[in-house]
Amino acid sequence: MTVDFIFDGLNQLFPEFAGNDIFLIIAMLLPVAALLGFITVYGFGVIYSEIKVSSFIQDKTGPMGQGPGLHAGKWGLLQPVADGIKLFIKEDIIPASADKPLFILAPFLIFIGALTSFIAVPFGEKIIITDMNIGIFYIIGVGSLAVIALILAGWSSNNKWALFGGMRSAAQIISYEIPAGISLVVVIMIASSLNMQEIIAYQAGGLFNWIIFDNPFMPIVFIIFFISVLAETNRTPFDLPESESELVAGFVTEYSGTRYAIFFLSEYANMFVVSAVAATAFLGGWQSPFSNFLNSPAWGVFWMMSKTFFLIFVMIWVRWTVPRLRVDQLMHLCWKVFIPIGLFNVFAVAIWIVVRGS
């Protein structure tokens, strides 16, 4: 959508070169560059907010020294930048006994998974890089790339802790994709579409038209979805793959410097993607909560961002509050609690739609 838009724009701007292949390449590269820029800025922002939110929860001040403020460095705004610079100038260490190609491949693979999910995320009414007809399905599919990267990282490090972490993440992410997927199936049934924009369009008309309030089962579906994506993004209480007090650092044990930073950034990028999907599928996406108020396209971006960042805030909040589950309890929760309830929800909502009409 955006690619076509830029391509058409370039063609109109320079009619004598219309249809040039270079325009197409530019039209494709521009959104990707914008996306990378967005992820970087977002990464700094969310890392800063994670530090600061955790500081408020833990009764400490957090970083105060770096960056501009009312007087020198009042809020530590540049702390994530300093962290980033520190990570990027570190020595790049690959353990001698590691499987070198796979070790190098793993961080890229996880970042590709995170980055490519972004292209189907609707930021606003018109602002979406590719408005695929199977957008929500695409995001679930591409999101699964992460598990390959985590296993690769765990295996190629040639470290027992990393291996434990990799194996745990494989079991965890594959399992939790099922309840997350089942929850989205319910949404797809209600909206009768896999297209992200159409799902959002279905929810037009204010708060009570959002899918989360569509029928009495939807809040449960939303909670199952949200907890499952917490597990999929390896956030506490499901951070078993890198549980720092048990497995040292899990699958990232042997990673340092830039490669570690990429893992770190991918985790936060994944958080954004799953929060955006949750906001799209359940909370009306870029629709305003008031049917005819603040409902212009510009406000759409604001609503989308505030819903997404609220969910990210909840993730941070949960992380700094609860302990971690054990690996068997994690599996128990998924297979014996979420999947049966999720399947029941699919069944119940299907009957609801047939009886009430969608």
Partner: protein, 373 residues
């Protein structure tokens, strides 16, 4: 470690590992995540304190005791001076006794705070740990006010104290206790009744009464197994018989008696009991009395030996001191409570998952400085 079968793997936890609370190496044999055997290897922090003590004077042993259990230095000092005073037959005045009890109980709170916080950290909850450290900091401030040191005090001397408490200490301690008591409830609420923490610790690593007794486990670990044994009650030293406090035991509220949750919860209740003791001791503390009154001119105990035990935050701390009549001890031996607690790990930890083993280790509250000495 013996024969390792095909599906099994030998894993070294430590000596540099976030959950080993110091430099401890646990060699575990795992089958997937299930741990079938745990062999602790200690000695990475061995500093020959007992041997050193045979070459320095009796006063110079006190800083060594500080550095053994660095999380409860006051209690370590206390045990040594109680033993020495018994050996030399010194009676200290009432003010000294009261100050010592206040310090020892403040130290118990500080130590238990760290233990409960770190137990949460072992289970993945980071915030309670920092809350606990925040409150522990206030206690360290009180110690700093008293003797200038925050961790290693060298405060209790044979026959007295290094300093009297400063002006305003009693008021600031009361102020701290008023601030602190609601914080204990907060800590209990975020940890003890958290569903995930209960799932992670109830029924895990159960230490039955007979196992605890036969291994010689003492302190909160023993009490969590349902044995009402506290030297402050059962064999009172100093002036503990004057105070009114309870000895909490594990009741198996969330699972079985003697599980990780009990070991953790007993410590939370003990914090509250210590607050009670401090309030009583501060209220009944005599206004006058020289803390240097009974300091002997020369520390030269008569020929003979003594074994005296006190209740530190980790259990029965025994000092065996043998004197040959010279100003240098012939032998100083310490009975370490954390050592026995560590030795029971294989018995109660084998068969659990890797995460559980680290939770059990955290619930035993070991300090490697004291184990290795």
């Amino acid at each position: 470690m013996g024969v390792v079968h095909g599906e099994e793997m030998v894993l070294n936890i430590g000596p540099q590992h976030p959950a080993t609370h110091g430099v401890l190496r646990l060699q575990v044999r795992t089958d997937g995540e299930v741990v079938s055997q745990i062999t602790p290897y200690m000695g990475y922090l061995h500093r020959c304190f007992e041997k050193h003590s045979e070459n320095v004077t009796y006063e110079q042993v006190i800083p060594f005791t500080d550095r053994c259990d660095y999380l409860s230095s006051m209690s370590m000092n206390f045990g040594y001076v109680v033993a020495m005073e018994k050996l030399m037959d010194i009676k200290v005045n009432n003010r000294v006794e009261h100050i010592r009890v206040v310090m020892a109980e403040l130290q118990r709170i500080a130590s238990h705070l760290l233990c409960t916080g770190v137990f949460g950290l072992d289970l993945g909850a980071f915030t309670p740990f920092l809350w606990a450290l925040r409150d522990r900091e206030r206690i360290l401030d009180l110690f700093e006010l008293t003797c200038g040191a925050r961790l290693l005090y060298n405060y209790m001397w044979v026959g007295g104290l290094s300093h009297d408490i400063p002006t305003g200490f009693v008021e600031s301690t009361f102020e701290f206790l008023d601030y602190f008591e609601p914080k204990v409830d907060e800590l209990e609420n975020i940890l003890a009744h958290n569903k995930i923490l209960v799932e992670r610790s109830a029924d895990i690593g159960v230490m039955p009464k007979d196992v605890a007794i036969s291994y010689g486990v003492t302190g909160p670990n023993l009490r969590a197994s349902g044995v009402k044994w506290d030297l402050r009650k059962n064999d009172p030293y100093s002036i503990y018989d004057k105070f009114d406090f309870d000895v909490p035991i594990g009741e198996g509220k969330k699972g079985t008696v003697g599980d990780c949750w009990d070991r953790f919860y007993v410590r939370i209740i003990e914090i509250r009991e210590s607050v009670k003791i401090i309030r009583q001791a501060l209220a009944s503390m005599p206004k006058d009395g020289d803390v240097h009154q009974s300091l002997p001119k020369k520390l030269r105990p008569p020929k003979g030996s003594i074994y005296a035990r006190t209740e530190t935050p980790r259990g029965d701390l025994g000092y065996y001191i043998e004197s040959d009549g010279s100003p240098i001890p012939y032998r100083v031996k310490m009975r370490s409570p954390a050592f026995t607690a560590l030795s029971v790990l294989d018995e109660i930890g084998a068969g659990w998952l890797l995460s559980d083993v680290l939770a059990i280790l955290g619930s035993l509250d070991i300090v490697l400085g004291e184990i290795d000495r």
